[in-house]
């Protein structure tokens, strides 16, 4: 089957991108993103395009996840050096919008014990909903550490009205291999969701936050 992006092209682009980023030091760790240009797609009538994908290598290692847990989960969180809050701590917020908003701002994502999740609308009101940080479920058979890694490794992509889709898949401190793997997985997954697959793809570039786009396709 015809190759759309050869292994060599991918590595060349990733290496160029990383080299360039090293040449000009920034005060922050630049994000690496894939930019898709789409074609044969009409946003007025074709189905909207969005989804989530779990990457192999964590693109946002600094992401802060807080556990809202029952006794068992809080013990596990403490043992693993993960921030946590229990039902009592949540009740203390007293459904105060300002406090809930502050809590939402403090962390990037939340995971909660199933029993606790069911109480969140009543305990906190819609504050976490509004912030887009409603917790994901945590059962007792899940490995907490693994679930946190899963949350950190999952990215969301969404195309609005313009025929361009940008997906953050890593950062410049990652190895070329890790980046290549994340990019490989993302491209294959996204294309599999397009109605006409590669016929809907006009171009693919990768770039760092401040860098020059490197063309892949």
């Amino acid at each position: 089957m015809s190759s759309k992006v050869s292994r060599d092209t991918l590595y060349e682009a990733v290496n160029n991108m990383l080299t360039q980023s090293k040449e000009k030091k920034r005060r922050f760790t630049e994000t690496v993103e894939i930019q898709f240009g789409l074609k044969n797609y009409d946003p007025q009538k074709d189905k909207r395009f969005s989804g989530t994908v779990k990457l192999k290598h964590i693109p946002r290692p600094a992401m802060k996840v807080c556990i809202l847990g029952d006794q068992q989960h809080c013990d596990e969180a403490n043992a693993n050096n993960l921030p946590c809050m229990d039902a009592e701590a949540l009740k203390k917020l007293n459904k105060n919008k300002k406090l809930v908003k502050q809590l939402a701002k403090k962390y990037d994502a939340f995971l909660a014990s199933e029993a606790l999740i069911k109480q969140i609308p009543r305990l906190l009101g819609p504050g976490l909903n509004k912030a887009g940080k409603f917790p994901g479920p945590l059962t007792h058979s899940d490995s907490m550490v693994q679930k946190v890694e899963e949350v950190k490794g999952t990215i969301k992509f969404q195309m609005k009205k313009v025929l361009c889709l940008c997906v953050a898949v890593g950062h410049v401190k990652m190895s070329a291999d890790d980046l290549a793997q994340n990019i490989h997985l993302s491209i294959n997954f996204l294309v599999s969701l397009l109605k006409k697959h590669w016929q809907n793809v006009r171009s693919i570039h990768i770039k760092t936050t401040m860098g020059v786009p490197q063309r892949l396709y």
Binding site: R7, K45, R48, K118, P126, G136, A180, I187
Partner: protein
């Protein structure tokens, strides 16, 4: 140069080969698996131009069908013959959904990204009889979905994310003034809203923020209206109330994600009771390539009957449209919807299901509407040798076992 030994993990990124797409087994095996016979009782193109059918709704009692098209018009036909009753232009922007009024059977409602929901009397569709809008400020908030409740008293519209807000609007159908405007419940586009089929104040909404929210609209305070919040952990496309689960004693709901997965939830729980991935759906369909398979609609059936999943593949010349039964977390082949005249590769965008008769209506991007009926078609030659009469076998849809109860399997 560097780490050559790890490079073998990443292969070339290649084309998705659909030239050999198709079923994993032969026609005979498929017929054995898909026990419920269905045939195409009517088929019509909505026009000569290339138009997409975006949404379909049916008023089964009076046998009417409304199809919303990509040229912003609504096409009204009979559900039996698909003969056109009328066509009218409803909006000047994309129509996001179409619904018959469940009480006023002569009324059909359309919602649009132009920020309005309009009511049309189908006997006189030149001018809309009523319009509902956000009258709270001047900014247009494009709708992505709307619904009317089972007793026709409440209307709800869900919007796209505009700047940093996303809204749920409610109207009492007797007044164009906004009854309630909620903006705290979702953080991204509200992709679908649906009222509970029999409880007039129960509403569900889903969003690309990954949440499905269940509301009790008897609560006037925004903060108290949210009853349950289900985190699907992926972007949601559509939801469907599936009825009361006798086993778990809870209302259940299906969520079709933007990644072509289907999740089944009990509304009071914190995680889904079943997840059907795109691969599982392709397997159940007996298809080779999951990349060409789509989860189209979930259909609720009568009490005690498992819901159905309408799914298919749009590979040109090698596509299919089928229904799977969702029972106890297992997907089983149920019925093949085969259009002899072609169009089995149409990307289906709208569908409706009649719980009583088992009829299915589908419409899609080729501009073709199909009506499917349970049962078999028998070819009968009439006296005029040029014509071939088709006769429907009168038995009910009991499949090979000939049972009298509908959907006894």
């Amino acid at each position: 140069m560097s780490k050559l030994e790890n490079r073998s993990e990443v292969q070339d990124i290649i084309e998705i080969d659909v030239s050999q797409d198709g079923d994993v087994c032969n026609q005979d095996e498929l017929n054995t698996l898909y026990q419920q016979p269905y045939f195409c009782s009517a088929r019509k193109a909505v026009g000569l131009e290339k138009l997409y059918i975006l949404h379909v709704d049916c008023e089964w009692k009076s046998k009417k069908l409304a199809a919303a098209l990509s040229n912003h018009s609504v096409h009204l036909t009979s559900t039996d013959t698909l003969d056109k009753i009328s066509t009218f232009i409803a909006h000047d922007q994309t129509i996001v959904d179409v619904h018959f009024d469940p009480v006023n059977l002569n009324c059909v409602l359309t919602g649009s990204s132009d920020g309005s929901i309009r009511v049309w009397d189908i006997r006189n569709p030149e001018k809309c009889s009523q319009e509902f809008r956000d009258d709270t400020d001047q900014k247009i908030k494009p709708f992505l979905s709307f619904d009317i409740n089972c007793n026709g008293t409440l209307l709800c519209g869900g919007t796209e994310k505009v700047k940093s807000d996303t809204h749920l609007f409610l109207w009492d159908t007797r007044s164009p003034k906004v009854l309630a405007a909620y903006s705290e419940f979702h953080e991204d586009d509200i992709s679908h809203v649906q009222f509970h089929p029999t409880s007039p104040n129960t509403l569900a909404s889903c969003s690309t923020d990954c949440l499905v929210n269940i509301y009790d609209l008897n609560e006037k305070d925004e903060d108290d209206a949210l009853q349950f919040c289900l985190n699907t952990e992926t972007t949601c496309g559509r939801l469907q109330w599936l009825g009361y689960d006798m086993k778990t004693k809870q209302e259940s709901i299906s969520v079709t994600t933007s990644t072509e997965n289907v999740q089944i939830w009990d509304v009071e729980e914190a995680s889904p009771k079943h997840i059907f991935s795109r691969e599982k759906i392709a397997d159940a369909l007996r298809r080779k390539k999951s990349e060409t398979c789509f989860a189209i609609r979930c259909f609720q059936r009568g009490e005690g009957q498992d819901p159905l999943l309408l799914a298919g593949s749009n590979t040109p010349n090698r596509g299919c449209l089928r229904m799977l039964k969702m029972s106890e977390g297992v997907l089983e082949p149920f019925a093949i919807l085969f259009d002899e005249k072609g169009g089995n590769s149409q990307t289906i965008r709208g569908a409706a299901f009649n719980q009583v008769s088992g009829q299915v209506v589908s419409g899609g991007e080729d501009g073709i509407i199909n009506v499917w009926m349970p049962g078999e078609v028998k070819q009968v030659a009439s006296n005029n040798t040029r014509k071939v009469k088709t006769e429907v076998l009168s038995k009910k849809f009991g499949g090979a076992h000939g049972s009298k109860k509908p959907y006894s399997k």
